[in-house]
Chain length 418, copies 2
């Protein structure tokens, strides 16, 4: 069954807003067993809306449309859908209840313009919106089932999951196929090397399709399984994931689409150990990533962003002689920073970064892209130097921070190669 996705609204059409809804919807429709062939965007223009809905209805079996369900003059989706389907609008009691409930629950007065949100095409089925004023609706236009949901991402996501996907699953019935995806995340190998390592997968697992995806600075291995039995599909995926982990080895840091910070945080929490971090070139990015994970206060004690040498000396106890002898960017400095921040916080692990993110500050010996990472525990301190050449400051910060967390991950997993 073919599906298309339509995002509406002048903010998206004009580029004032990036449309992230369509990617989310595509991913979930495909996992429901539909073939997504096209996405479109049009603005708040009645003729364009009617035209594109009519075109989609001639090509696709299902369609999801976002946006244009609000109370303003610009919100034209229901009018356009009625016109494309050749029917009239009427005030739907259930849709009116959705709007009224929203205001009642918040103790706010409902403005007359919100009443417009209850006007739906004849023959439409209401899709409940538990978190906003705009009810969605389902409507057949030509041979195609259209699902209309709001453009606000969290309203859309909730309604897609609770209203749209179950209806699609029910209508597929015995034809339902389960397209499942599992994402393994790797760091430290180029895309070509990962591709080489997993090149035998199609032979070993004929049921599985494999794709690589660069999500800087990670390389993800995406495993796809299309099957009529969801449980069987999951088993195939799990076996293939195990195979990938064995082939690729230590560079795999998650088999569940976690970020590096999430994977490391999980290890810290499981092992009930604590961490403190000293950042120079990464400028707080590691701390920020770690504290994006709820519950970070259980294991994350403290971070020090020691940009200036004086801060490295004063806060971390880095020796002025070391800085004078080898400079700020060196394994010896990274080692003293890691030890110093571990000691200052009384943490089990101390992690440090010092490097040159650019655009200036590089030299022939230490070009932009050079980073030294230190990791200190009660027993030992190690340091590593890497040189990355992605040029841009923000990319360098990202790859430096990921490399730092990866060294910590290897330490937490007692990687014998460390």
């Amino acid at each position: 069954m073919k599906a298309e996705i339509l995002a509406t609204g002048d903010e998206i059409r004009t580029g004032a807003l990036v449309d992230s809804n369509s990617a989310h919807i595509a991913d979930h429709l495909i996992q429901s067993g539909l073939v997504v062939t096209r996405h479109h965007t049009v603005g708040d223009d009645l003729d364009e809306l009617v035209a594109i809905m009519t075109e989609i209805s001639g090509r696709a079996d299902m369609a999801v449309v976002t946006g244009g369900l609000g109370p303003t003059q610009d919100d034209l989706t229901a009018v356009a859908a009625a016109r494309a389907a050749g029917c009239d609008l009427y005030e739907n009691a259930l849709a009116l209840e959705t709007v009224e409930r929203f205001f009642r629950e918040r103790g706010r007065p409902m403005s007359p313009s919100n009443r417009k949100q209850a006007l739906l095409p004849q023959g439409a089925t209401v899709l409940d919106n538990p978190v906003g004023t705009a009810a969605g609706f389902e409507l057949k236009i030509g041979k195609c089932r259209f699902f209309f949901v709001p453009g606000v991402p969290y309203e859309m996501k909730r309604m897609l999951a609770e209203q749209v996907l179950p209806r699609i699953a029910a209508s597929l019935g015995a034809d339902r196929r389960y397209s499942q995806v599992q994402t393994l995340s790797t760091f430290g190998l180029p895309e070509s090397a990962v591709g080489e390592l997993v090149s035998g997968l199609p032979d070993a697992f004929p049921m599985i399709k494999v794709g690589l995806r660069a999500k800087f600075p990670e390389i993800q291995v995406r495993l796809y399984c299309d099957s009529q039995d969801a449980e069987e599909g999951r088993k195939h995926l799990a076996a293939a994931a195990d195979w990938v982990v064995e082939k690729v080895g230590a560079p795999v840091f998650s088999t569940r689409d976690q970020s590096m910070a999430e994977a490391v945080s999980e290890l810290l929490a499981q092992q009930k150990v604590t961490l403190s971090v000293a950042e120079s070139c990464t400028g707080g990015l590691i701390c920020n990533w770690l504290t994006n994970v709820a519950g970070a206060s259980d294991y994350f004690l403290m971070g020090a962003v020691t940009y200036a040498n004086s801060a490295k000396i004063k806060l971390l106890g880095v020796r002025p002689e070391t800085l004078a002898r080898v400079g700020a960017v060196d394994e010896a400095t990274a080692r003293e920073m890691a030890e110093g921040v571990r000691r200052a916080a009384g943490a089990d692990f101390g992690l440090s970064t010092t490097g040159i993110a650019g655009p200036s500050g590089g030299s022939a010996e230490k070009p932009v892209g050079t980073v030294c990472i230190g990791l200190a525990t009660a027993d030992r301190t190690i340091a590593r130097r890497y040189t990355f050449n992605f040029g841009r400051r923000l990319m360098n910060k990202r790859i430096f921070a990921t490399a730092g967390l990866n060294l910590l991950r290897r330490g937490l997993r007692h990687d014998p190669a460390l």
Copy 2:
């Protein structure tokens, strides 16, 4: 003149990747005076590509297509364009030179598959790619001028600016209109209040269209001017921007689409003063934002991410009695943190945040969303408490960090209301 945008590739079609290219292209085409009517996405499927290019050629005067110019079997854009235009492919010497130059400059061998990237439709004009292997090209299909560029964002952006937009401007000639945009960024007022303050703008400046855009946690005022004379348009915009600054006042933190961190960094650099930051609930986000700005080491001395109370005491000299008396989230604690981090670094300004980002940790007296911000200088220390109710952890971190930087900005500007 009508323009459409086509993003190609299975990664975008399947939702593995969010397409941010189309928004960037739409914004720039509109500023060049084109009317962007539709965006589309299709996968790496020859029939779909040919079909949609043919459809676009029947509707639009211009089109920009991203993706599918690489060396692999999946890269079908040139083949599809040739088929839609009804012409053959041939090896273009200039496109071949683009590929060869890329490998030559990097001292890497060129693989035979890259030679495929020089195969272009007959009648195509090469668009030089100074930063990648894939040359772009321009081709007329039906009545529509198509511009084909790579999907890699930084290659696309560079080629759009250097190759595509100048060609569009040249072809518009005397019909060329200049659609210019100026973005003013505000923080601290709800969208409705900003809307109220600028509601008189259309009367005062009939040449200017105004739009509000919520870019959490900022509210942007976007001024649009469409004119035949670029210089005249700029003058109108500048006058309208001055008017907005006068009406909205202190909440305007940039008239040039800067981030809050960029605006603050500019003030720090101009005033040649230094800063140190103590972050609790924002967990390194302020430091990370500040160090995303190149040159941060000139004014940013140090940051301390003091999640644990022990770190607040040890690193910042917060008094245990204060913590025992009022807790970690309080103006008094924020004040001592700001003073402590200022003193530790010997900086001109000390900034601190302490609050509850959630999801847990809230109480009736201090709900999730509460933040206290401290700002210390040699002369005085101030602290403010705010309660935001956006619920989610990452949103809270963003608004806390922005509120912190905003207090610093007001301090740097000697805001008499502080």
